[in-house]
Symmetry: C2
Subunit: 163 residues, 2 copies
């Protein structure tokens, strides 16, 4: 079975943009980018990837599953950290090549493997703003990554983001 | 000059995740995915790509610039539609391979080339929800794409999303 056979093949532009058939357009690697936001606060928690199996399992179970490019395997968010994501709403975009997940965190309120609520905990200064260094925002740790991920690499950041 | 030479080379994991040096990690094509949200409502408006030049111009001008893969060129959001994006905040993620832009729309309140506020105007049903077809949500058009984009392909959706 082809990697994406569990979904209809991508349709022409008119159907893809204005139709009601969900026919996601996976990229050459069989992946779709997924924006994950908090259903509670609206903040962007992470940007991840899904292959067809991760997308199908997410739809079937209502629990977020992703494809880890660094580990080359499917993962259910929280399978190691205990901090999983219940899907409140799943949307696709105009040309059906991206996904937006609104989720509720279960466990610690932390989507990032560094222990923070969101992976986006640093702001980049805009010209004219005066500062030149990244500025930490909403960067309090909700858990200790060394305690949660028992293998030595975790706390040193050898895990790819978000798990 | 290399395509990414205007930014420092990516750092090791510890510095990349916990440091204050902005050293974005572009992919093999020299691109970064960019989540764009409304500073006003928090909703996800679009998912786009930036190359180093687009990122540098966005930081310098405070106006969102992207790389169009379909057209193979840099574009300032709104250069054709008139609906541009003023950047309120720019963030990077833990491993500095993604960007989150909070923007205010200028012109029509529509980030999507279909005339809608957001590109994510359809929800995918979760198993058990009863429905099987995509459901339109927040899908009112803010402008008529045929009137805004004067070339015949635009309204038929031959333009890539969001411009």
């Amino acid at each position: 079975m082809s990697k994406t056979a569990r979904f209809p093949a991508p349709q022409d532009k008119a159907e893809s943009e204005e139709g009601t058939l969900f026919a996601p357009r996976f990229d050459a690697d069989g992946l779709l980018p997924v924006v994950v936001t908090s259903a509670k606060t609206g903040e962007v928690l992470m940007l991840a990837q899904m292959n067809a199996e991760a997308l199908a399992r997410t739809i079937e179970t209502g629990e977020a599953h992703y494809w880890s490019r660094s580990r080359g395997r499917l993962w259910r968010k929280g399978e190691e950290s205990g901090n999983s994501q219940r899907v409140v709403e799943l949307r696709t975009d105009c040309d059906q090549d991206a996904i937006w997940l609104k989720v509720e965190m279960e466990g610690a309120d932390a989507a990032c493997h560094t222990g923070r609520r969101s992976c986006f905990y640093r702001a980049v200064p805009l010209k004219g703003a005066g500062d030149v260094a990244l500025r930490f925002v909403d960067a309090e740790r909700q858990f200790d990554p060394e305690a949660v991920y028992r293998h030595p690499g975790a706390a040193k950041g050898t895990l790819k983001s978000s798990e």
